[in-house]
């Protein structure tokens, strides 16, 4: 483990959500509620061209006719969509050229999060596009990236400066009418990240964004669009923390990945939003639509570590459209206390010789419910499609639940599909063995859980792997004993 016993001890003592603070930055917030005027106002605020406004309005109309889905294996009090403010931005609207111009309070927030920009800048390989309450306030390493022709900016900037790319790709993977939350996001998305890797370019560094929900009562509607042109490669990191709140906060993001011929996108997420307190009060609702499309020989790999949120509803998916394309999904979902997670993936095999791998590890503790819901679909023209799925669940205590809902649909005889699932608990003999060697129970559990999750942790980029490992322990702390 990458830190000392002292550090862990300290970590455990401050077990309450450590990132739960609220930064007092003057924000400009819209009145609560949602109607066409609000959609127009958001669009206007962002100085968007006419086509974008229309696109949003159409999404709003679609959304108004949709009903909130109820099929997921989660129970929660439905958010009041008219009780949310759909736009909030830190007041300073100027772009900064150096850190000195940035609101010191904001810098303090980043320091608390452990992502000091100065440090980040110096640390090799990570360009940070920080999103604080929906508006991108700082973009680093932009110049290095620009030399390679890589566009990495906020989506609102992209709408201004690269409208042809945005227009061409937005909504192609996740159409506005895809689902309730995707439609909502399409209508009101405030900001997000945009990334374009030109033909044949291998992005020299891991791209990353940090999301934070800050303003009380604001929902966060991020929109991410990553386009990897022919033969390019990009690794994208996304990590999230949110301050402690008693009322539920809604997060409905949409992420679209487009991997053109021979391109590869690696998308990693560490999600640690406020899960509510030990009594299940508060916490973030996370209803996310993530999907990627693979053209010929392309590859998309999703890796996620989910430890936060009161309710998670998230299925990063791959449409394997091109021949020989590859989709991967590696996931660890940890639920504790009253958290509920319904997460998994969809692998839609359309092209020939397409391959997909699903490794999902669910860990439930406390009174939480953890579900894996997945779909593997082999279309009739997808010759020689191959899928391997493995879903393992680890239960801690007898008040939690683990569920699997794998859907497998095969329409081609040459398909080869394997699905395995197991459910187990941490063996008393395993803990005893550790105790014998002087490792206390709490630590032993951390050790075993890390072992259980290793297959997925290994897939994370270095920067995240350490953080994720730490996160797993904090989330499970106090769950056995």
């Amino acid at each position: 483990m990458a830190y000392t016993e002292e550090e862990l001890k300290k970590e455990l003592e401050t077990k309450e959500y450590e990132y739960g603070f609220y930064t007092d930055i003057e924000s400009e917030t819209f009145p609560n509620g949602l109607n066409e005027d609000i959609v127009r106002a958001i669009s206007k605020k962002k100085n968007e061209p006419e086509w974008m406004t229309e696109w949003r309005l159409e999404a709003f109309r679609i959304w108004s006719e949709m009903e909130e889905p109820e099929w997921a294996n989660v129970n929660y009090e439905k958010p009041d969509f008219q009780g949310i403010s759909y736009y909030s931005a830190p007041k300073k609207k100027d772009k900064y050229n150096s850190l000195d111009e940035v609101d010191p309070e904001l810098l303090e927030t980043f320091n608390k999060l452990g992502i000091s920009i100065e440090e980040q800048k110096k640390l090799a390989g990570v360009a940070v596009d920080i999103v604080m309450d929906s508006v991108s306030v700082a973009t680093t390493f932009k110049k290095t990236l620009a030399e390679k022709g890589i566009i990495f900016c906020s989506i609102s900037e992209a709408i201004q400066e690269h409208p042809e790319l945005v227009k061409k790709y937005i909504g192609t993977v996740v159409p506005r009418k895809d689902n309730f939350y995707a439609a909502l996001n399409s209508a009101v998305f405030s900001d997000g990240s945009f990334c374009y890797i030109p033909k044949g370019v291998r992005c020299p560094m891991e791209l990353s964004t940090y999301f934070r929900i800050n303003q009380a009562g604001t929902g966060q509607f991020e929109r991410t669009l990553v386009i990897a042109d022919e033969g390019s490669y990009v690794s994208y990191l996304e990590g999230c923390t949110a301050p402690m709140r008693d009322e539920n906060q809604l997060h409905a993001a949409v992420v679209e990945l487009i991997a053109l011929d021979d391109a590869e996108i690696k998308y990693s997420t560490v999600q640690n939003w406020y899960p509510g307190n030990a009594e299940g009060k508060g916490g973030v609702f996370n209803f996310v639509t993530k999907r990627g499309i693979c053209e010929t020989n392309a590859k998309i790999s999703w890796t996620q570590v989910e430890t936060g949120s009161a309710v998670t509803w998230k299925y990063p998916s791959c449409i394997l459209k091109g021949n020989n394309s590859v989709g991967e999904f590696y996931s660890i979902a940890v639920t504790n206390n009253y958290q509920q997670a319904d997460t998994g993936t969809k692998m839609i095999h359309l092209g020939k010789n397409t391959k997909s791998t699903i490794i999902s590890k669910g860990i439930s503790a406390g009174k939480s419910q953890n579900s894996y819901r997945g779909l593997v679909q082999i279309n009739s023209r997808a010759e020689n499609a191959r899928n391997f799925s493995q879903c393992d669940s680890l239960l801690m205590g007898n008040k939690c639940g683990a569920h699997t809902f794998p859907y497998i649909e095969a329409k081609n005889k040459s398909a080869q599909i394997e699905h395995e699932a197991t459910t187990s608990k941490i063996g008393e003999d395993q803990i005893f063995y550790c105790n014998q060697r002087g490792i206390d129970t709490e630590k032993a559990i951390a050790l075993i859980v890390n072992g259980f999750s290793k297959e997925v942790l290994n897939k994370l980029p270095m920067e995240f792997a350490v953080e994720a490992q730490k996160l797993l322990e904090i989330s499970l702390e106090g769950s056995v004993g």
């Binding site: 239960l395 801690m396 794998p406 040459s414 394997e418 395995e420 699932a421």
Partner: protein, 438 residues
């Protein structure tokens, strides 16, 4: 008139034919209400996502059989497992056929549902068991309950191993243009008793037949129930089979389902555990072609500690056939030390064939061993090549491999004659004559 309306309106007429002062009357009236409210299941329901009854329900099924038809034993002999001595309960178009049957009242009851529902001496048993494990909010089960009149009634008292298997066979003769049959079986096996049952539905006609069958089985302490369902019906016949099994502690129940034919076959198989140390086995082999549709929907509800369940379903799908497997295992909070295993393997022979499978686990206890595995694949080309190099023609080689694929399930068939019959059916189905019994 739609079938649903027809059924609801004929309920009155049905009620008039039978006496209404039994407690069963209330159960029936309640059931028809539930059916009227819910109607036939549609694809919008999660449990029926992959199976549509729409085309089937367009037939103008007659609900009541009009007259009794006699069948000659020699014509239908082949549908029996005739090389063993057995008790037989035979129905023709839903009506009991006494001359084809062999029932008993000596020391145990292997007889008719109609008798059990009417004779006062059975009343306490009916009050105790009838419609007690069947899911009362399920529309098709309720429909059957509303029209429950005839079927098999088996009650084995304590400490008795039934000397020979029981065969329950339903024939449809085509006397009516299209017929809907709703047999209702009740099987009660008391403490420490053993029974083996073979069930078959057979249509002798090209006319459409829809069978909506409900079987309730109660296995008391240490009872052993061994149930075989042979489904090899003609293309015009459809079957919705609802089987509910309630098990007391230390009991052992197994159901083998062999689906080789029929238009739409839906097997709803439910196991409920009421005590500790229960063993449940669910196995099946499905080999279909044409446009056949077979849907296995199973539930094992582990509600008590220290129980085991074993599930193993193999499917081979050719032509334009569709297979569905939906296996659900629920493990309650108190059901610690549960071992639940589920396996579903499928082979698609043809690009037009489809398989949809959804093995589902819902687990609320931590000290359990649960696993499920599911595969879809093809025959191993190398194994096939090996067989061919040894002089076994491709077709026979394929058959051998497919047979081997299904063999796991056959191994646990306890009646040798049934095993032999199934082997023969598989050989016919695969279109080979290997010159020896597989």
């Amino acid at each position: 008139m739609e079938l649903k309306d027809k059924l609801v309106s004929s309920f009155m007429a049905f009620e008039n034919q039978i006496d209404v002062d039994t407690s069963v009357h209330d159960i029936r009236s309640e059931a028809i209400k539930i059916f009227e409210e819910k109607g036939f299941p549609t694809k919008k329901e999660e449990a029926w996502k992959y199976t549509s009854l729409n085309t089937l329900l367009k037939n103008d099924f007659s609900v009541f059989p009009k007259e009794e038809v006699a069948l000659d034993f020699k014509d239908i002999k082949k549908y029996f497992i005739h090389d063993i001595d057995s008790y037989k309960i035979v129905f023709i178009d839903g009506v009991y056929s006494s001359h084809l049957s062999e029932t008993t009242h000596e020391g145990m009851d292997i007889c008719l549902m109609s008798a059990a529902l009417h004779k006062p001496k059975y009343r306490p048993v009916i009050d105790n068991y009838f419609n007690k494990v069947a899911k009362t909010d399920d529309s098709l089960t309720s429909l059957n309950t509303a029209f429950s009149k005839e079927g098999a009634y088996i009650h084995i008292p304590k400490n008795k191993a039934v000397d020979k298997p029981v065969q329950i066979i339903h024939f449809a003769t085509g006397n009516e243009a299209a017929i809907m049959l709703q047999p209702r079986n009740l099987i009660i096996v008391d403490e420490n008793s053993h029974i083996q049952i073979i069930e078959r539905h057979q249509s002798l006609t090209e006319n459409p037949v829809l069978t909506n069958s409900v079987t309730e089985i109660f296995a008391d302490k240490r009872a052993v129930v061994d149930y075989y369902k042979i489904q090899n019906d003609v293309q015009s016949a459809s079957l919705i089979d609802n089987t509910y099994i309630s098990q007391q502690r230390d009991s052992n129940a197994s159901v083998h389902t062999f689906s080789f034919g029929g238009n739409i076959t839906r097997n709803n198989l439910n196991f409920y555990h009421k005590g500790e140390h229960i063993d449940s086995t669910l196995k099946g082999v499905t080999i279909v072609g044409d446009k056949q549709h077979v849907d296995h929907y199973s539930l094992v509800h582990h509600a008590q500690p220290n129980c085991e369940s074993h599930q193993d379903y193999k499917g081979i799908y050719a032509d334009r056939s569709t297979g569905v497997f939906n296996g659900k295992i629920v493990v309650d909070k108190i059901a610690q030390k549960t071992n639940a295993f589920q396996q579903n393997n499928n082979i698609l022979i043809n690009d037009k064939a489809t398989i949809n499978t959804k093995p589902q686990l819902e687990i609320f206890a931590d000290d359990v061993k649960c696993s499920h595995g599911c595969t879809i694949g093809q025959l191993d080309e190398e194994a096939l090549f090996y067989l061919r190099t040894r002089g076994i023609p491709e077709k026979e080689g394929r058959a051998l491999l497919m047979y081997a694929f299904a063999n796991n399930v056959l191994e646990s068939v306890k009646i040798p004659e049934v095993k032999r019959r199934i082997n023969k059916l598989i050989a016919t189905k695969l279109g080979v004559n290997l010159g020896f019994d597989l």
